[in-house]
Subunit: 482 residues, 3 copies
Amino acid sequence: MTTAPLPPSRRRTMRLQEASLLEGPMLLLRSIRGFSSNRSITWLACVPFALFGLGVFNLSAHAADLPELTPGFLANNLWLLIAAVLVIFMNAGFAMVEAGMCRQKNAVNILAKNLFVFTLAVTAYWFIGFQIMYKADWVIPGVLKFGGLFFDPAVTAGMVTNGDLVPSVDFLFQAAFAGTAATIVSGLVAERIKFGEFVVFSLILTAFIYPIAGSWQWNGDGWLAEAGFIDFAGSTLVHSVGAWAGLVGAIALGPRIGKFVGGKAQALPGHNMAIATLGCLILWIGWYGFNAGSQLAMDAAVPYIAVTTTLAAAGGAIGATIISTLYSGKPDLTMIINGILAGLVSITAGCDGVAMWAAWLIGLIGGVIVVFSVAFIDGLQVDDPVGAFSVHGTCGIWGTLAVGLFNTDAGLLTGHGFSQLGVQALGCISYAVFIVVSCWIAWSVIGALFGGIRVTEAEEIEGLDIGEHGMEAYPDFASAGN
Amino acid sequence: MTTAPLPPSRRRTMRLQEASLLEGPMLLLRSIRGFSSNRSITWLACVPFALFGLGVFNLSAHAADLPELTPGFLANNLWLLIAAVLVIFMNAGFAMVEAGMCRQKNAVNILAKNLFVFTLAVTAYWFIGFQIMYKADWVIPGVLKFGGLFFDPAVTAGMVTNGDLVPSVDFLFQAAFAGTAATIVSGLVAERIKFGEFVVFSLILTAFIYPIAGSWQWNGDGWLAEAGFIDFAGSTLVHSVGAWAGLVGAIALGPRIGKFVGGKAQALPGHNMAIATLGCLILWIGWYGFNAGSQLAMDAAVPYIAVTTTLAAAGGAIGATIISTLYSGKPDLTMIINGILAGLVSITAGCDGVAMWAAWLIGLIGGVIVVFSVAFIDGLQVDDPVGAFSVHGTCGIWGTLAVGLFNTDAGLLTGHGFSQLGVQALGCISYAVFIVVSCWIAWSVIGALFGGIRVTEAEEIEGLDIGEHGMEAYPDFASAGN
Amino acid sequence: MTTAPLPPSRRRTMRLQEASLLEGPMLLLRSIRGFSSNRSITWLACVPFALFGLGVFNLSAHAADLPELTPGFLANNLWLLIAAVLVIFMNAGFAMVEAGMCRQKNAVNILAKNLFVFTLAVTAYWFIGFQIMYKADWVIPGVLKFGGLFFDPAVTAGMVTNGDLVPSVDFLFQAAFAGTAATIVSGLVAERIKFGEFVVFSLILTAFIYPIAGSWQWNGDGWLAEAGFIDFAGSTLVHSVGAWAGLVGAIALGPRIGKFVGGKAQALPGHNMAIATLGCLILWIGWYGFNAGSQLAMDAAVPYIAVTTTLAAAGGAIGATIISTLYSGKPDLTMIINGILAGLVSITAGCDGVAMWAAWLIGLIGGVIVVFSVAFIDGLQVDDPVGAFSVHGTCGIWGTLAVGLFNTDAGLLTGHGFSQLGVQALGCISYAVFIVVSCWIAWSVIGALFGGIRVTEAEEIEGLDIGEHGMEAYPDFASAGN
């Protein structure tokens, strides 16, 4: 780094990335071998990665000299980089919301899950997920891509001339999305799942299940894209996928001790509303990257998408606050938080293609729905500690269907008939079926291999922080003893 | 979203936003009708919005095909979008500072206020405030605009050619400012105001009072702009407006129980210095959007404004720390926090037009002033729980006057006579009078309609979290019992 | 601020920054004089600044009319401004990590240190540090620059034509780095250092020691730059410099009471894992500014640097988690946090010039190393409360050496011989020697002048929050009494 004017070679060319003889992977392999002898056999799941790795670490990216960078190239890549940073920041938001809405005795576990899972998601998505979702050839056309690992980060002159995204920023943005899907699962299985088993599931989800699901729509020739399904930024592809994956986990786990007494749902209040609120606001700004970044370019539509996103968040808060006040007589902060998130999830599928009033209304309805959904899920005796299925699943579906109602080019309420709404429903159902089935298999295999996915009763009562991590989140504070 | 190269139609044109037959508003109306029968009659305030809505939800924005996007258009709109996100992130900063500096028993209430009020501010400003502040015709020239709702998000070829901001990003940036004004009020009325009544006041402030005040200066033909008043980013227009609005509320409410005993102010320490400090640093970075974004373009002056903003924050911290150490013998963390915020508020009016040394000095003096102002407000037996009037009001005025002293083109100390200083004083006084009068009316009417704006003594002693929201912020922690 | 189209004069030209007759500095001087009579004589250190100030506040920046802003100029300056904001946000990350990993009774002190020191660092670096590091002439060629204060923010037509960074954004980015170096020290000396004495050391570090060290490498004609040393974004220049400076302080202070009992290190657990995790994620996103911003331009390499940074963070978390699980049987959240930070520090020197697999591996090894380093430092009976030397020092050195192993143009493992590795080692040693010697002198002089740098035993046991600041971080919460 220097403040002196840089020579053109430093400023305008891509650095060379060459392969080399590798000692590193051997080291890694030894670490992992040692590790697999540990009590947590679940870590064995890392071994295939290392084995694969030995063959394919030969990545290189020789960049030719590039032409003068065009305004579009600069703006598109800068915006997507910033959008990726905003989406990555959402990890902090999810961690704070989930930890804040759970009990103190499980806070370390939740924080550790959120932090560690993102690092695994990035690794798995870099290793193979990105290829499966976008880069490999179709093995089953429109349904399954496979072949190849990692990606080639080389920047070509053509990319500069066309104003294309460089492969690195494309990867980073998509990897952040993969991490989001895994994080949503975390909320549904909170306060009772074993750490190691959750880690293995996250690897499977981000390496295989999420990328396969994503490939159907976000490739121009995926089968759902060809069917005309619209999910601009992922109400279904990210949010409901994560929610279904987590729901299967929550059902497999069963409810937390004390959640249902005599068939009635009990409140197990979250331990820290300050960080939950902070997390909500971090997620809010992160969503500008999530939604407006999904334009995959800096253009005139990007700020409009930011506005629809904002209005839906506002509508969601208002809807959830009104309904929760009607029911309980008082505005519940957790419902304001979930209302905002509900509004944001609801607008995600259609944020680029609906009118502003429709965006606000989609958010408002999302905020209303989320309150009823929480009650409905409770009624099913499924334990979703932070309302993650209601926020990401129910509202993810609502947002996807809302495209069929409000999209200005294809919506029923904008005078275009039922056809788009039907395709949207087809997409929602297809994803639900695929995710439920594949995740049921994944959770079952993990449970069978590692002796169950749930912690012991004693550990759950004491708190997972001690049992899974041997530490407390707030050791200097006296507990209220509840 | 796809990583394949996008067709030009997706990348370079604005999506169509059409109107439609509306079922949504009917649904909304029904919700609100049900809601108004609830104990909190204050919600009735939402009804006019819905009624208005029925007539005007017909928003559409057909965008013509746009020419090649110019470098200026791309950079200006990208920068303002990022600036808007930074200003929106300030909501997290305000929520953390205010909650952290108040007592644990009122934390949920403060968090809920900050979160919900921003969603209302965005809605109200979108509904009518933006029109009143910038877009409508003058009804009283230079003083009052009125007519029209919402805004037209259409992007024209001329905007692209001229490098103009698109309407959406302009709105989003301005809406974030409106939210800031409302949030400042929250600090002054904390720990004793009813939630519903505060919500109604916020709607009035962001829909009408703040936009009218803003229109005087931030339109080229507002009466104060024509008088030569300078308030680049809102020391007066946002910060002192919010502070005066809150001061009237604080006086109307009276002090918290236990704040003044035998005529002497008592310390009621904040409950969480970690989140208060975090909030301060979030506000700091948010201010780069607030101040440097107010250039409303990406140009050579933007980084300079970021530097003056930084130096003023540094000066403010140093000034407040020195003075508070002189007085109490020890550097008080809340004073370091308020000193930074004081420096930031103080530079806001003049950040684009003063020398670097002047920026640091303006901040330093702001940091000194804020300490004395806190003592002065206490001496008046007005209860400002987090020092919001001192930070935003006193330093807002100081920063506005400082333009008359230090502005390189017009300041007294830069050799340009008293004229600018006089205009700055005129502006400060005009805003004070308008806000105090209009807010006094607003608070009085709200109090009269809804049976007072203050919670009961019993509720205040127990804490507003239970009384207003039926929940605790930290239920798993034992209370210190103070 | 106005939404009406701005006249070209406002949009396209730099504001004039003129000097003036100064009353301000006199005021400042009087404040500081009064302050120096206070118990904390340490503040006297501010006086030379004020004296210097009287002579040199004559800063002006007349900007000529600028030509049409070029795409490169717009993109480069916008990206660096955003990168600077991200790096400044790292202050929040460091504050949360350090406070969260220390005990509740010292939280206010840690928060106050982090907050206040950044404001001093900015001031000192603006006053003289930036000149010493980059702008002044060499007094000893390649080794020491001196002469001149502040910097000239004027933007010239040539800068626009060449797409150069404007001086303001260059300063802001570099000042944020200086603040980072000072903040790292804070972690090593936590929970036992006097506030005032730490403040004085920070001034010396950011005004003189760090800038001198930096000048050797980040000027094209510094002696280490000419020797071929590579430290792209500061594994050594920022991280290990801060770590060595703090290590000397930690040794001079001695360990905290109770840290070593019978020669064995005792765990003194951090009080708030929620904010520590949040801080880690804030640092993660801040690092995109730190590393990718160090390209000092927006170009095709920037997103690639963001990818290597991300992969190293992921690798670091995985490495530290595996090793800490192997050792203790359970994944320790503080080790996941430190693993991420270790990965980030490790990739900082070489983030622009290594392959992706190498980035992940460098991070992984960093994550492994950090666990052993913590044990090693404990074994030396040096008390590093948050593991700052292990993260920033050990991994800073590792990252610097890793350039000699993995850099695609010069690394041993990429087939280029030992030469680069030797230069990297030379750089690491040179910085270690210079920082240890200069900081030993600085800490000794401060200790001698002000009666020691450590708080009393009674104060340490009670907590520095009461002793140094007269307040508690969480007064409404009951203490666990440990």
